[in-house]
Amino acid sequence: MIPSSFEYHRPTSLDEAVSLLQEYGDDASLIAGGHSLLPAMKLRLSAPEHLVDIARIDGLRQIRNDGDDVVIGAGATHHDVESSDLVVQGAPLLAQSASVIGDVQVRNAGTVGGSLAHADPAADYPAAVLASDGTVEVLGPNGTRSIAAADFFVELFATALEPGEIITAVRIPIASGTGTAYLKFPHPASRFAVCGCAAAVTVSGGKCDSARIAFNGIASAAFRDTGVESAVAGASLDEDSVRAAVAGAAAGQELLEDSFAGEDFRRQLARVYARRAVLAAAANA
């Protein structure tokens, strides 16, 4: 468990970090919590020659209210996210998903920006950001831009980030009157999501008004399941009705397959977790 040698940089500003990334290009990796990168480096699956540590850049860890949005700095740790009143109140799906990441040590070090940039399909944030209709804010050589969550997660470990771009924050619109739940079926070894479902629903008169439902863990990238969303909208919020409404969960999606969970089983988990997440979300709407 010994990484290859590398040069370590600790810029004091995001602009400095961006120029270091420009300078070293593909030979550089950003690091914050290091909970995905360091294990890969120790196994020598990854061997960046330059590490650019942005964990201590001023303000990057800040969580703030910005009008109708909660803005979570990319450097906020999972623990920051799960325990922030602003997040718990305004962006509860983020808090719920952060609270089931890894263990206490992981949550104290890993960051929301690092997790989103890594785009592990089994990570817990992506479904929450998608179902919250969030946007990812980035800074690059050409300045800042915002990427809608729906456009951000592209493929296995691949995002819409351009070379040299750094995630600065994730912006979540505050949706009052919405019930939310993030439920996951964890892998027994890694405790990563084999299937994670985030649901955000509005309810009136015992029926679901509207729903945003997203999955991570089951496919090569997290995705919103708009088919199921429209089936759930208008459904009565009892077990049988919701079971029927989510019967087509993950339909048309190519799902991941490994020795622990094949495609059929992941599709079954998608149905079960969609139902459970919708009902749990409705219960706190």
């Binding site: 468990m1 010994i2 290859s4 040698s5 196994l43 020598r44 079926f185 892998h187 027994p188 070894a189 890694s190 990563f192 020795s259 622990f260 969970a261 094949g262 059929d264 089983f265 079954q268 988990l269 079960v272």
Partner: protein
């Protein structure tokens, strides 16, 4: 002070472990030490056409790079198997050379091919990336059954069909007849999957050659340093034992994986002489997955016949057991003498036959893993009993009860039970543990709850397991006749210091078992002195006379008795000294609470005074040697046979296949108990280990011989939140053939729990049509079984 035996004394070693003061091999830094990193094969089966070490040799900090050719040139032999099992036809088992660094071919992913010795660990790892190995890849075969089939890859030129040996035990004709005559035959076919021990401390070794004395010291993470020394000296390196010291200090768990003599132990010892400096190697965790011996990996078909009253008529078992790519130290005895011999179980089956085929595959070598053979046997029996109960529409507890061997205490009036598979059980009350376990869970009420839950669409299952195991494998003459290449006794030296403090040097090795506590309790109780006055020393061949080490739950039943024998000798000699000082006859003395007292008087003398007199013999019995120290070797008359009944209660989420273990009750009989808390801890750990096999663990090899789940991200170990609160209890049926009446407790939990959990899940899902599940019972497997049962 007296009556320390039977007390739940807190483990005295825990303070040092819990405060980070344990001293493990990897903590050791010797002057001028170098670091080794092993270059391992990343292909499962290939001819090595060349190993180019030039660039690595010139890399920064590199002291030396060696390959198998270097070791061969220095006359290093391969690693030996410590047990010989012959073919049914009498031919000697196939034991192909097992070089420490591969020569000519590699046969599993993880096999050591070269070693880098460098100034630092980092430099050794960096340089390893510069080693170029030219492989000509060959087809691999990882599956134990496929390996014996026509057209399978052949690992060795002279091992046809990859069969290391075949073996049988029991009366085949009688078993065949019993099956043929049965009114009902239950048949199961299954895999007992491959497991990885995963001790928390990775293996480590430091070789230190002293040129001036021509003497080697090896620090190594071993469960049995004397055995390693014997194998290294006599078989592998050809160096004299008095020139070798092996030290195994604190060791963080073994579970069988630290029994074998490993390549790395030879490599660092040999390399230390070559480079003239100490050489240290510590496994990285991913290396542990690929180089620690694995366990189990059987493919089994078993049939059990029953008459119309539900009495067993016969048992017939056929097993393919994987050896991995080479024969590890105890590999041959695990599926034979530790597996076939246990097929009687606790049942009075009139006929038993076991047939085993031991097979080489392109995988990490297989050796003992907690229970070693006995869990495999128990799984066969206990799955059969539960399956038969379902098929016959009988209660599994009652079907067992009908077939249990009646109680016997091993006295002349109730002699040991002779099995159909070569063993004589020492003492047992199998119905006693079954009754107590059923009572613990209120079995009748539990069955009622199960029925009610089914009405609500909830699937609760109750699984039983009534097991027996054989511990403290012995005696040496018998195991020698069965192929052991070593004795299986234990030794202990008890040294009373002049001040009356006691140092105990024992061949049993503690790597989590709590010997510092249990053995001190034993000696404190027997000598009537405080535990604080006793130090337990183990794991150093220069300090301890000899030792066979710790495995097979043997430490107390064999090592503890060896200690007791030495204590008895001390008390005898001490009585002579006391008698002299008290001017009485030794026969007239009583010994209690650390005092010799002249019977019927208040004249007495303390243990400390006698000890001082032994070393300052001014006023001393004529002709008696000074000093107060004795060594003993104890070779038991028989195995010991702990037993128990375990009950698991599960609830299955039929939508996701998730098995939730809701209750676990264990009633064990391990004979007399020295420290109930330590025994409970062993049971908790063992049960957890067995639950891991049932629900979570399993090494997965693909067809190319790659281990696909060789990390803790993929290989699931049981954790606290996977487990319920364990309910434990005991009955006590003392072992009749050792003075302590003890049997052993380290593996009982592992043996009893695996089938109990699987039986519970099958019991839960029987009404849905599920008849069989392969371990581990992952959610997908359980869900698929429900789906396909529904489809029927």
């Amino acid at each position: 002070m007296t009556n320390l035996i039977g007390q739940s004394v807190k483990r005295v070693e825990d303070k040092r472990f819990l405060t980070g003061k344990g001293r493990y091999v990897d903590d050791m830094v010797l002057p001028n030490m170098t670091w080794a990193h092993i270059v391992r094969s990343d292909v499962a089966h290939a001819v090595i056409k060349g190993v180019d070490i030039d660039a690595a040799s010139q890399a920064l900090g590199v002291v030396a790079v060696f390959t198998g050719a270097d070791m061969q040139a220095d006359g290093m032999n391969g690693l030996p198997a410590g047990w010989q099992v012959d073919f049914k036809n009498g031919d000697t088992m196939k034991e192909p050379p097992h070089p420490s660094l591969a020569v000519g071919k590699v046969r599993y992913v993880g096999e050591a091919v070269a070693v880098i010795v460098a100034e630092t660990h980092e430099q050794a790892v960096d340089a390893s990336e510069l080693v170029e190995i030219d492989y000509e890849e060959l087809p691999a075969v990882a599956d134990v059954v496929k390996a014996t089939q026509e057209g399978a890859a052949q690992l060795f030129d002279d091992v046809p069909n990859n069969i290391a040996f075949d073996w049988e035990l029991g009366d085949k004709a009688a078993a065949d007849a019993g099956i043929d005559a049965a009114d009902h035959v239950t048949t199961i076919e299954f895999r007992n999957q491959r497991l990885i021990c995963n001790a928390i401390e990775p293996r480590a070794a430091i070789g230190d050659y002293d040129e001036s004395r021509e003497h080697y010291t090896l620090y190594t993470t071993s469960q049995n340093p004397h055995v390693v020394r014997l194998l290294m000296c006599a078989f592998v390196m050809g160096i004299p034992e008095h020139k070798v010291r092996i030290v195994s200090p604190d060791v963080g768990g073994g579970f069988g994986s630290k029994i074998p003599n490993y390549a790395e132990e030879i490599i660092v010892t040999w390399a230390s002489k070559r480079v003239g400096r100490p050489v240290k190697w510590t496994a990285q965790r991913s290396e542990s997955f690929l180089s620690d011996t694995h366990g189990r990996d059987h493919a089994t078909k078993a049939e059990m016949g029953f008459d119309k009253d539900g009495k067993i008529t016969a048992l017939r078992v056929k097993t393919h057991a994987s050896m991995g790519a080479y024969l590890s130290t105890f590999a041959p005895c695990v599926p034979t003498y530790l597996h076939g011999t246990l097929m009687q179980g606790v049942y009075s089956s009139p006929a038993v036959h076991v047939d085993v085929t031991a097979v080489f595959t392109s995988t990490v070598p297989v050796d003992a893993l907690r229970g070693a053979g006995r869990p495999e046997a128990t799984y066969v029996l206990e799955r059969l009993l539960d399956q038969a109960a379902h098929e016959l529409g009988q209660d599994p507890a009652e079907l067992r009860r009908k077939n249990l061997i009646p109680p016997f205490d091993g006295s002349d009036a109730e002699p040991g039970f002779e099995t159909k598979v070569a063993l004589v059980y020492d003492s047992g009350n199998y119905e006693g543990v079954l009754d107590k376990a059923l009572e613990m869970v209120d079995y009748a009420a539990l069955r009622k709850q199960q029925e009610e839950a089914r009405g609500e669409g909830r699937y609760i299952g109750i699984g039983l397991s009534t097991y027996i195991e054989a511990c403290g494998i012995a005696p040496s003459a018998v195991v020698g006749a069965l192929g052991a290449r070593a004795g299986l006794y234990e030794s202990a030296n008890v040294r009373v210091q002049p001040t009356g403090k006691v140092t105990v040097f024992v061949g049993s090795h503690s790597h989590g078992q709590g010997h510092d506590t249990t053995f001190a309790q034993l000696v404190g109780d027997q000598l009537g002195i405080p535990m604080d006055d006793i130090e337990i020393v183990h794991g150093d061949t220069d300090q301890v006379p000899f030792g066979m080490g710790t495995y097979g739950s043997r430490s107390l039943a064999v090592g503890g008795v060896a200690i007791t024998k030495s204590v008895e000798k001390i008390k005898e000699k001490g009585a002579l000294i006391a008698a002299h000082l008290l001017e009485a006859s030794a026969d007239d003395l009583d010994y209690a609470d650390g005092q010799w007292t002249v019977k019927g008087t208040d004249k007495s003398i303390g243990f400390g005074d006698v000890a001082l007199t032994a070393y300052v013999p001014h006023n001393y019995p004529e002709g008696l040697e000074p000093g107060l120290e004795f060594s003993s070797f104890y070779d038991p008359a028989n195995f010991t046979f702990p037993f128990g009944a375990h009950i698991a209660v599960v609830e299955v989420d039929t939508e996701t296949g998730v098995v939730k273990l809701v209750r676990y009750a264990a009633c064990d009989d391990v004979g007399n108990v020295v420290n109930p808390m330590i025994v409970d801890g062993q049971v908790h750990g063992g049960v957890t280990h067995g639950i891991g096999q049932a629900l979570l663990e399993g090494a997965i090899y693909d067809d190319d011989g790659q281990l696909t789940n060789g990390s803790f991200m993929d290989y699931a170990m049981p954790r606290a939140d996977d487990l319920p609160r364990f309910e434990t209890s005991r009955t006590v049926t003392p072992c009749p053939h050792n003075v302590l009446g003890v049997k052993g407790a380290g593996e009982t939990g592992t043996i009893g729990s695996t089938p109990a959990v699987v039986n519970a899940v099958i019991d839960a899902l029987w009404p849905l049509g599920v008849r069989h599940l392969e371990m581990p019972l992952t959610p997908q497997r359980v869900w698929q079984a429900i789906q396909s049962a529904n489809g029927k």
